[in-house]
């Protein structure tokens, strides 16, 4: 790999600290899902976190607490943390061709420290891929005609990414049934990106036909199907890959609830005949995320319009203000 010549590199020949792990204890550190199949991790969403940007938002998934028999300094699973800044609408650069619509450009970048394996400073192919998926999801809701000859940049920084599998499986050399399909963590990252970018667009005051929320669902082989060799499987919402040694298929949607439209669909793995049900589950996850988003919007509304009566848009606002 070519050395980064634009930044100060660390001394050559360094290695991250390695922890002495008793491999017999390793399996005891494996986190397992203690939520119900249809239950999402708790979501924190807030807009207006980056003052210089015209709109911004921050999303964080609460990392679940696991009751593990062995304590370790390493966290059992990572929690998603995404920051999004929207710059614009601003005039297009001189070199850009005439465009009667808003030119949407999305940049998704993992912070170097976002994953257990350190990331580079230059966007790699998975980050560009995420950016293309996100652009698809947002293009469906932005009303581009309102902003001719202008562009808007959606910049996403992932401060902590979702893992593709449990770290212990990587240490022990892969005992999982993941097979050739990997990268499950990207699905959750994309869903988070869609949600946080939509909130930031609203914060920036860019015309949108609706809010769009990301949702993920996955098909897992049922825990008891191993014994009797049947093809039983269960569908879970918001799967955290470290919690599941095996994932058959996963689906992420960008869903606009008030229009009942899917703006982005990404399906991975072998879902077989259950594809439609898997997509429906992902939509259900997106609908659940929307509740959090509307709540975050009510806080945005209160900070932007302190005098306004926001009850008609947020029926639950009374409870928020009094509680």
């Amino acid at each position: 790999m070519m050395a980064d010549r634009r930044r100060i590199n660390g001394p050559a020949g360094t290695a991250p600290p390695s922890y002495a792990i008793n491999t017999s204890d390793l399996e005891k550190l494996r986190p397992s899902r203690n939520r119900r199949p249809e239950e999402l991790r708790k979501i924190f969403l807030k807009t207006g976190v980056t003052p210089p940007a015209s709109g911004s938002a921050y999303l964080e998934l609460q990392s679940p607490t696991y009751d593990l028999p062995v304590k370790s300094v390493l966290p059992p699973a990572s929690a998603l943390k995404i920051s999004c800044a929207v710059h614009g609408p601003k005039p297009l650069p001189r070199s850009a061709p005439y465009n009667p619509q808003l030119v949407l450009s999305t940049h998704v970048k993992f912070a170097p420290f976002a994953t257990r394996h350190r990331r580079g400073y230059i966007r790699d192919s998975t980050e560009r891929d995420l950016g293309a998926h996100l652009e698809n999801a947002l293009r469906g809701i932005v009303i581009g005609k309102r902003w001719p000859k202008s562009g808007v940049d959606v910049i996403i920084t992932i401060l902590e990414g979702e893992e593709d599998r449990w770290w212990g499986d990587e240490v022990s050399g892969g005992t999982t049934g993941l097979g050739v399909v990997g990268g499950w963590g990207m699905m959750n990252v994309l869903a988070g990106c869609i949600t946080v970018a939509s909130a930031a667009l609203v914060d920036a005051g860019i015309d949108c036909v609706d809010l769009v929320c990301g949702g993920v669902a996955a098909i897992l082989p049922s825990p008891d199907s191993k014994d009797n060799q049947t093809q039983q499987s269960i569908t879970v919402l918001d799967p955290s890959p470290p919690e599941h040694p095996e994932i058959q298929a996963a689906c992420v949607v960008g869903y606009s609830a008030s229009r009942d439209e899917i703006t982005e669909l990404w399906l991975k793995g072998d879902s077989g005949a259950a594809t439609e049900q898997l997509i429906d589950s992902a939509v259900a996850a997106a609908v659940a995320t929307r509740a959090v988003m509307v709540e975050a919007m009510s806080e945005t509304a209160l900070s932007k319009f302190p005098e306004a009566d926001i009850k008609s848009a947020f029926p639950s606002a009374d409870a928020v203000m009094s509680g």
Binding site: P91, Y98, M297, K304, S312
Partner: protein
């Protein structure tokens, strides 16, 4: 009749499009007026020109979503009054950058003031160098969104449009003495300009 909500978030229906016309921050979807911004709903009544228009007579109001007061300045729209700085003079046009739109400062936007748009009369006798100088601040209207190359098209046709702040060749502040002349406050030398009528 159910009244429109007082506050809306994107995607929230505001009422049937047969009753309400779409103002800024709203759009029409499936015969319904839907909000496309987060903000309070304001009622812009009466609708301009609706009295003579029979098929719009059933419209009761135009609904719009108000942007927050600290929102960034919007991009220049057609017929908007803007303030621009002259950056370059050519034989047939003056390059400008729009600094202020709707009384809000925004990031400079490129614009072109063509010779035929400088004044409303005797358009073919306009000489750009006798109307502007690089650095002048001009009050103008936007007449076009422009093409690939230049930028927004501006016009100073009209008494209230033209140079509002000028500096002489020596760099001193000038004051207007007529619609086509300014005078250096230090040296008293006169220079030609297309001057805006002071308020």
């Amino acid at each position: 009749m159910a009244s429109a909500p007082s506050f809306a978030l994107p995607g929230q229906p505001l009422g049937p499009s047969a009753r309400h016309a779409a103002g800024p921050g709203t759009h029409i979807y499936n015969d319904r007026l839907v909000a496309s911004l987060l903000g309070p709903v304001s009622n812009l009544t009466p609708i301009r020109g609706s009295s003579g228009n029979s098929n719009k007579a059933s419209l009761q109001s135009t609904l719009a979503i108000t942007r927050p007061s600290n929102a960034p300045a919007p991009l220049p729209s057609i017929n908007a009054t803007v303030y621009a700085r002259v950056t370059r003079l050519a034989r047939l046009q003056a390059q400008c950058e729009i600094l202020v739109t709707d009384d809000k400062v925004n990031t400079p936007v490129r614009a072109v003031l063509r010779a035929q748009d400088v004044r409303a009369t005797e358009k073919d006798k306009v000489k750009i160098t006798e109307c502007f100088r690089v650095g002048d601040i001009v009050r103008a209207t936007v007449v076009g969104l422009g093409d690939n190359t230049g930028g927004y098209f501006l016009s100073t046709a009209g008494n209230e449009f033209g140079v509002v702040m000028a500096w002489s060749e020596e760099g001193n502040v000038c004051v207007p003495v007529s619609w086509c002349e300014v005078r250096d406050r230090e040296t008293g030398k006169k220079e030609p300009r297309k001057v805006a009528k002071p308020f």
